[in-house]
Symmetry: C2
Subunit: 622 residues, 2 copies
């Protein structure tokens, strides 16, 4: 029988509950017999990709870049012929030429293939400060059997997320304060021991899941003198049970998205939670950061998916004692955990809802004459509560960007078709190629319902001047999801730096926020002497009843500027101010982290405002 909790408290609770239930049995039961909850028997083993099919080895640098995004065997580069190419074998785009990318980069950023700003190829160990080891902690740690390391590479790997400034610094070989020790707990009980020891010996813990944070959440405080230990959860990554009656599954928090879905798929299920980071991001990280997934319209965001959470804190283990679907028993403690971003404890185990895998999937796309019509269409789709699994609207700049990422087509016939479509859309239907926008769609579910649903959505789109543009364009849009992140490294090879940021905003502010933020970025860059106009673009990536999620990209060529990262941060700060001024939130799903610390301020009246929450207080909110 599955045990929802381990630890001494349940030893008292389980026998009591069994005694109560036993009262209903027809035959008498020996109530003096000792009842004990089964100990979690999950074995900690040497997990590696080959034997378990799990994606994350202990020494991640064996397969992942130490100073860039993703897998080491995958990158964008310009080949000997000067064509853009995507290396490796992991993705649909892998091994393909992308003919239009070079011209797009040159036109958009003024990049010059002769002018390179390559990264330091390997970490210089001497750049890494020796670890500050708390000897007493390490001694006791040894007796727990939990694997650990203070190797420089292991420590540097876990010292950062993927904010621009973090990657820029690594590319320059610069390393600041990093964790002193890395530990790899194998299960919840290991984490309990680690947290106990940390409390006992005054050691800092930083939970480390996928390392995909884009909110500076993993940055070690420079001035921290205590020993910092990175708690790497990647080896506690098992699915402990699947409950087909209740459609739930219970996992260790270190499991990453691609493994979770793949393993559930083997049983015909899925969580349907598909954040763009899902190749690397972990269940614990999703819970801690209030993650959102591409198909939240069907499956919900993380707060809709979570049934039970176990978190180890300095005060002990926090968890509910039942799996009721919805309760009114005081404030929902899951909501103290979700959004705590690693500051309150380590999430160790989570029960999530699962669904049968969808019977049928269909992509789609719609071309709109302009962004305004597209937004109006998405708003109407939301109003009618008929959004597909995913619906995203990109602006004209992203449409062109997407075009530039098209792989070389092998057949002349396909090329001819592309040309035909273009003619039809621009000349015949009168769409202006410098205004038009594209929405990509994904429908999932029962086949008959999907086709009905599709008709309803396209009918709405037509009312806003939208023209169905085929499944291919939709599918390609989604296929690019996992490869886009690799592009920044290519940009950074050619003096281009960029970042994405996102917000959530009421419907009636969507157009303003898109226009104003993009314009503000351009103006700020101009004022700061950036030569080439920056790439400033947005898309509406999620719809809700009362508003939408808007995702911005911002990138520019920094060649000739003395302190590009600092300047970049000033522009980004201005962009975030613009977002707030236009009624947007600090973040829809990336999280506040430390990058939003600037918005924790004491106001004149003594009110502290942070991240969209106001308190009147004499002291700063902690």
């Amino acid at each position: 029988m599955a045990s929802n909790s381990s630890g001494s408290g349940s030893q008292g609770r389980a026998p009591q509950r069994l005694r109560i239930i036993a009262g209903h049995l027809q035959r008498p039961v020996d109530v003096d017999a000792t009842v004990s909850a089964a100990e979690c028997k999950a074995q900690g083993g040497e997990a590696d990709v080959a034997s378990d099919g799990k994606s994350v080895p202990k020494r991640r640098q064996e397969i992942m870049k130490w100073n860039g995004w993703g897998y080491s065997d995958t990158k964008f580069l310009f080949n000997k012929k000067g064509q853009a190419e995507f290396t490796g074998k992991r993705y649909k785009l892998s091994g393909m030429i992308i003919p239009a990318l070079k011209e797009w980069m040159e036109g958009t950023f003024g990049t010059n293939m002769q002018h390179k700003s390559l990264a330091t190829p390997a970490l210089t160990r001497t750049a890494v400060q020796p670890p500050t080891l708390n000897e007493a902690f390490v001694e006791e740690l040894k007796s727990t059997g939990v694997p650990f390391s203070h190797d420089a590479e292991d420590r540097v790997f876990r010292a950062h997320g993927h904010c621009l400034h973090e990657i820029f610094a690594l590319r320059e070989g610069k390393v600041g304060r990093v964790p002193d020790l890395v530990v790899w707990p194998n299960c919840h009980n290991d984490v309990v021991k680690i947290v106990e020891l940390a409390c006992k010996h005054n050691v800092c813990l930083i939970p480390y899941g996928g390392g995909t944070s884009v909110s500076s959440a993993l940055e070690c405080p420079q001035e921290e003198t205590r020993s910092i230990v990175s708690v790497d959860t990647s080896q506690m990554n098992r699915i402990l049970w699947i409950d087909e009656k209740n459609l739930t599954a219970h996992m260790e928090a270190g499991i990453v998205g691609q493994d979770l879905e793949r393993l559930l798929n083997e049983s015909g299920y899925c969580t349907g939670h598909e954040p763009d980071s899902m190749e690397f991001s972990s269940l614990g990280g999703w819970v801690a950061t209030r993650a959102s997934g591409m198909k939240k319209n069907i499956y919900g965001n993380i707060e809709d998916l979570v049934i039970h959470v176990k978190m180890v804190t300095p005060q002990g283990v926090v968890e509910k004692s039942c799996q009721g679907p919805r309760m009114s028993t005081g404030p929902d403690i899951h909501h103290f955990i979700m959004g705590s971003e690693g500051t309150l404890g380590v999430v160790t185990e989570v029960t999530m809802k699962i669904r049968p895998m969808p019977e049928y999937q269909k992509y789609g796309s719609v071309v709109f004459p302009n962004f305004e019509q597209g937004v109006a269409c998405l708003r109407e789709v939301a109003r009618q509560r008929c959004a597909p699994a995913s619906i995203r609207l990109m602006d004209n700049e992203q449409f062109k960007f997407g075009h530039a990422l098209k792989p070389q087509v092998s057949s002349m016939f396909t090329s001819f078709l592309e040309g035909l479509k273009k003619f039809y859309i621009t000349k015949f239907k009168g769409f202006d190629p410098d205004c038009l926008c594209v929405a990509t769609l994904l429908f999932e579910g029962n086949r008959e319902k999907v086709l009905q649903h599709e008709k309803q959505v396209y009918d709405i789109a037509a009312k806003f001047g939208g023209l169905a543009a085929g499944e291919d364009n939709g599918q390609r849009g989604y296929m690019l999801t996992f490869v886009i992140a690799y592009l920044r490294d290519l940009g950074m090879d050619y003096y281009v730096i960029g970042e994405s940021f996102e917000t959530s905003v009421p419907w009636d502010r969507v157009l303003d926020i898109c226009r104003n933020v993009k314009a503000r970025i351009i103006r700020e860059c101009k004022d700061k002497g950036v030569q080439f106009q920056p790439f400033s673009t947005c898309r509406v990536t999620q719809t809700y009843d009362a508003g939408a999620c808007v995702y911005f990209y911002f990138a520019f060529n920094y060649r000739g500027l003395s302190d590009p990262v600092h300047m970049f941060e000033e522009v980004e700060h201005a962009a975030r101010e613009e977002i707030l001024a236009n009624g947007g939130s600090l973040s829809h799903h990336h999280g506040a982290g430390q990058c939003c610390a600037a918005w924790a301020e004491v106001m004149e009246s003594g009110r502290v405002e942070r991240c969209g929450t106001s308190y009147s207080a004499d002291t700063t909110m902690c």
Copy 2:
């Protein structure tokens, strides 16, 4: 332009934001011009039913019972002919004879029309302790202009909710510790002043919305020596704005459900939030208790409906500074507020989602051969995610109970039809009248979609032996919603006491929990010497992906027992233990209040467990 917040903090924020937005205007703007947020101009007026159409006067006892449920002009009684009758004019059932009720009560409880246990008709003022007035507080209160009273009737009215023991005591004329003062703030700013004064003068505040608590949340601590002030929100009940672009509306927290829906309906909208208490319960109360509504399958529970909340706390006003539909900016503070049950502050204003009123509504009902098949059907409906606006399954006892509440039919023809139906179901289809169960359904939405949806649900029902039993039965089931609560007062006139309680539980435990809890109640009553077997019944009232809400009724004839309320509480406690043992939560929607304090315990290991949440701690969770 609507202002989301008042107070000095926004005075700094609004000008700053306007300056930022002004940066985008084509023509120059005088940025030195003073910008100030518009003060909330909502007038506090003498609200009464006639002039404003609002339901709750300051002196509630003018229209509501002081020692029972609901309106004074409405009650169940046995008329001179010995027939059960429902008096008044407010409800569909009003003015009707209920022919079968008397026999059902006699058969179920062994009630005897000669043996009455009538309530004390009027409050004896001398039973009420003189108020403990904090003179300094009262003096400063006078200068605020906020109306107040220390009249005994006003104080007693707000000293209780509707737990059995509370009403039982009032019927006996017994009055314990009650609030010393009642205040009626007219708007948010009034509440700010009240809270400031309470902090300054060390006065307790108890927020009072609808007074419909069934968790002892309103009980004043007997030993409290400080002055207790009841903050009655009924006069701050305005809809401040409706935002048709974002489909949201902003209300003062004292508005009650029936007024909110009626006023929104005038503009073609609704919240769709329909708790059974909606005639009297308030928006602030829903937020504080994590309320659930009958049609949550379409509209969501309160946590799905709320976009923005303003709460006045001793530390100041807590509110988010934007209306983004979903954010990741740390833990969601709305979830500190929701479920706080009046312990952390006073909720003053709330923005909720609204929807266009449904185009079409259709009721329905399904008869199942037994409860197990009914539950299996509801589980499958949940699995396919095709639940109607409402779907509820009652057990056989409730089916019979519902039958007993049928009003006298005026036409012989209708009676004949009823007889025909009964014949068809029992003799022709072979349903056993002592096993069969009924599910009531409500569909809402676009007419075409409703009919499709209806077909899908009935097809599923047929797979589980379910037989469509017509719209009438469905409609009657829902019509009884608001009158059921009046029945307890009738019961209490004839030595019958009863209570409802509810839980949420995973799907695979639903049958166990229903069977075991009902059996436990019967066994406990028997062991305690209750003469007549108690009425012990349940229904599944809500479906979720991962489980359901189960609602229990429990009532018995206490004639001859010396301390019936104490005995009742012991049985209820045992029933709650049974619920927990079978994997249910302490509450789905009623809240924890003080009635669940027994489940806050320090366990052997030093862990504190309350209401389904475990913490390891040296000190009790506060």
